[in-house]
């Protein structure tokens, strides 16, 4: 399984990476913003994408909108501090499959990843 992590914080990518490793996922690509992710996603072909909202150059929401134009099925989980209902709805409308509000524990992230994969492969 291949997972792409999109977050401008390296610390946050490291935390997510270690959770993915605990889940046995070793093929991980990182991107530091939406633009970076768009340039890598075609070559990497991820099975799951974790994406932050607030990032420089291109934010997560713009990335999702652009990505969903070309790929409607790859599961996307938004991992962000944006917790207001209006924001979550905005993200759902843009095409995210699941949503995790920071701060989170490793257990919460792994639970959300497992749920999303199970749901999308059903």
């Amino acid at each position: 399984m291949k997972v792409m992590l999109i977050d401008d914080s390296k610390t946050m990518r490291n935390i997510q990476r270690s959770v993915l490793r605990q889940l046995g996922i070793e093929q991980i690509e990182e991107a530091c913003d939406g633009q970076d992710a768009l340039s890598k996603v075609g070559a990497f072909q991820p099975d799951l994408i974790l994406v932050d909202w607030n990032m420089p150059n291109m934010d997560g929401l713009s990335f999702i909108k652009a990505f969903r134009k070309q790929d409607k099925s790859t599961p996307l989980i938004m991992v962000t501090t944006e917790a207001e209902k209006s924001r979550v709805i905005e993200a759902i409308k843009a095409g995210v499959n699941n949503y995790l509000v920071k701060p989170f524990t490793p257990d919460m992230l792994s639970q959300r990843i497992n749920e999303t994969i199970a749901k999308c492969s059903a």
Partner: protein, 167 residues
């Protein structure tokens, strides 16, 4: 500043630190900050815009920042390391994000990408027309403060009222 803007920060800091670091935070009595004197050695700064505008600073003593970053990243890091500032930035990002979600009246607020300053005796200049509330915090890793200098954006609120009236 409306006291209703302080409680979300208190709750958020406790939530972020207990969830991400398993570190309980004791919040002491908030006070109004006088002048632009530096609070501590490492500061993470985030700007807020929209219905509420201003800045929020999370300022740590150096040893506290080192211990907290070590807890967050799982390894001790030199303060000059780029990832050190990144970790502080992510903490202030989570604190502000969590706090703004708790603002009442469905305020529409955006937060900026964080900036981090590392160095003794640095000062952060805030707009003089916004009072800065200083919230001292204490943890087993050391002390830090949250400085909240935000206010409701009168222009934005007026526009919202106008829109409501027109509707």
């Amino acid at each position: 500043m409306d006291a209703g803007y302080i409680t979300p920060f208190v709750k958020s800091i406790q939530n972020v630190f207990s969830t991400m670091l398993q570190l309980p935070v004791t919040v002491l009595d908030p006070a109004i900050k006088q002048g632009n004197s530096p609070s501590h050695d490492v500061s993470g700064i985030i700007g807020m815009s929209g219905d509420v505008k201003g800045s929020v600073i999370l300022s740590f003593k150096l040893d506290a920042a080192e211990s907290i970053v070590a807890l967050f990243c799982g390894e001790r890091m030199d303060p000059d390391h780029a990832d050190f500032a990144d970790a502080i930035g992510e903490l202030v990002n989570m604190v502000c994000g969590g706090a703004k979600a708790m603002f009442t009246d469905k305020k529409r607020v955006s937060i900026s990408c964080p900036s981090v300053i590392v160095g003794k005796d640095h000062g952060v200049c805030l707009p003089s027309d916004v009072p800065c509330v200083l919230i001292p915090c204490s943890t087993d890793c050391g002390e830090f403060v949250i400085e909240v200098a935000i206010r409701e954006n009168a222009a934005a609120n007026k526009a919202a009222e106008q829109a409501a009236a027109n509707a």
